[in-house]
């Protein structure tokens, strides 16, 4: 079967190769938007095809909080700062859903690609570092927004009113999802097993979210805990959204925005740096 190639055949092969190389080089001159779109679509389909697990289940869990806290505590608390407790609760719970699902989506998806070896397929592709980040982050934001929107909508059906400033609410939600999707990517890149992925939600995100005023106003806390709470960045996010949804907040809403924008830039820079150096991915 071994074939010795004569000069004429070799010349023909060379020519065919040169033609193809030229075509590829020309094509590589265009920005590969379709490549980035493909990664986004893949990531979207990954969670969408399992939507019972990835969408429905978190929505139901969060709504259970709404029922339990809203109706049991709501009866006693009535209102906080003039906001009915049931309305007060909506931004907190929407935030809870958005934060945990944005983080879960990007961290889980990237990490499982690493474990199953399919990340290699992405790493050999011509996608830029930014495009890889975009694909994972945009799909995670989409999932978080679907969940957040569902919680918001169902809460409204159950009698809550949280429509003070819809565009600002959406902005706060998208930025929050962005921050936690980026954090998820960082954790997935650094993680060596599933335990590492669960460490951050269990010991950082969940406690900070619950202590960040999801269910209460920090004004209700005794000293020094009201002051300590102010070091929790999630407090600013929850309150920023609470302002956008109800018009009331423990801290000025712009502080939440500043916090989100700053964290987006910092975490985004870290993700790009990790992807560029190939740390733990291209060893």
């Amino acid at each position: 079967m071994t074939q010795e190639i004569d000069a004429a055949t070799r010349a023909a092969i060379e020519k065919a190769a040169q033609r193809r190389i030229q075509a590829i080089v020309e094509e590589a001159g265009n920005p590969n938007h379709f490549g980035a779109w493909t990664l986004f679509k893949r990531e979207f389909l990954r969670f969408w095809r399992m939507s019972r697990q990835t969408i429905l289940s978190p929505v139901i869990t969060t709504l259970l909080y709404f029922l339990v806290f809203g109706y049991s505590l709501g009866g006693r608390l009535r209102d906080i700062d003039g906001v009915p407790y049931i309305d007060f609760l909506v931004p907190g719970l929407v935030m809870l859903g958005v934060i945990s699902n944005a983080f879960m989506n990007s961290s889980f998806s990237l990490f499982i690609s690493k474990i199953h070896g399919v990340l290699v397929d992405l790493l050999v592709s011509p996608l830029s570092y930014f495009q890889i980040m975009f694909g994972y982050v945009a799909s995670s934001i989409l999932r978080a927004m679907i969940i957040g929107g569902a919680i918001w909508g169902v809460a409204a059906l159950m009698g809550a009113s949280a429509w003070f400033n819809i565009p600002l609410s959406l902005l706060m939600l998208v930025l929050t999802a962005l921050v936690f999707a980026l954090l998820g990517l960082i954790v997935a890149i650094l993680a060596e097993d599933f335990d590492h992925i669960n460490l951050v939600p269990s010991f950082l995100i969940t406690p900070l979210t619950f202590l960040g005023g999801v269910f209460y106003s920090i004004k209700m806390l005794p000293s020094p805990w009201d002051t300590v709470s102010r070091f929790n960045p999630i407090l600013y996010m929850v309150n920023g959204l609470r302002y956008a949804m109800t018009g009331h907040s423990d801290v000025p809403y712009w502080q939440g925005l500043v916090c989100l924008v700053a964290l987006s830039f910092i975490l985004g820079a870290i993700v790009l740096w990790l992807l560029r150096t190939g740390y733990k991915l291209r060893d």
Binding site: M1, T2, Q3, I5, A7, T9, R10, I13, E14, K15, A16, A17, Q18, R19, R20, I21, I24, V25, E27, A28, N32, F34, G35, W37, T38, L39, K41, R42, L45, R46, R49, M50, H116, G117, V118, V120, D121, L122, L123, V124, S125, P126, L127, S128, T277, G278, R282, D283
Partner: protein, 327 residues
Amino acid sequence: MSTASKKAPLLHARGVTKRYKSLTAVDHVDLDIETGEIFALLGPNGAGKTTFIGCVAGLVAGFGGSISIAGFDVVRDYQVTRRLIGLVPQELNQDVFFNVRDVVAIQGGYFGVRPDDPRIDALLESFSLGDKRDANTRWLSGGMKRRLMICKALVHDPVLLFLDEPTAGVDVELREELWEYVLNLRARGTTIVLTTHYLEEAERLADRIGILHKGRLRRVDSRADLLESFGRSVIEVALSSPMTTPTREKLRALPGVLDATDLSVTIDALVGDANAILEVIIASSARIDTVRTHRSSLEEIFRDIITQEDAMDASHKEADAEGEGRA
């Protein structure tokens, strides 16, 4: 080769070095691969083959030296070089969330290939995956997973294809099919670099062979030259009646006699004078049963080179140690 070597090589690697803490996985590798060649990179496990390929394909960052494909640097111009390259990795992988066709379409999509491109279905057909297109990749057999990985590597029509142990754990049928496919790919201008444990594969396909050992490229030669310069032609003489000890001693003293036992004599055909040796046997009481000639296979040559290189490494180490001792 003489005409091709004047042109710029398709792959041009100089001083490629990758270190992991104390281990140097790839050590100053210089390698040129010409357009349209089939190049086999051979070496024992852990020789650095996969790491070297990883440096070229973008799976290994932070290496020293430089690598270019068709004049484009694999680090600086990665968006061009990764389109030029296709890689079938050694490790089987599976995307459990998607079916076979989706997986190939997604991979193509990263390179700008549209999901309705007829190339996708044509590839699946060529690798007998047409009837599995809707199956989840989780349920594929090992051989089918390997086929799927080959489809993924080819979907963007690369000009430089790396096959890292493509036939490991694959049945004979696929092996033959793949070899034929490789030759067809080359005919339309694809350059192929393969690593393999089946030396038969390299012997049948490769135009040139590089031997990598402990991270260093020890030999690069055309298959024919490698077989000629390292290959031995051996004559094995089997006897029907045993030789006497003096005859055996006499034979052993002759140049080119590799071994002489009671009932057999092994002769290096290039070194030994076969006539003289056979005459000694005939003159003795022993009777010749059969005479067979045997050319050493690439496998034997490969083993010889590795053993030689190990011996050289050891003597260098000794010399270094002595030098240090004196200092």
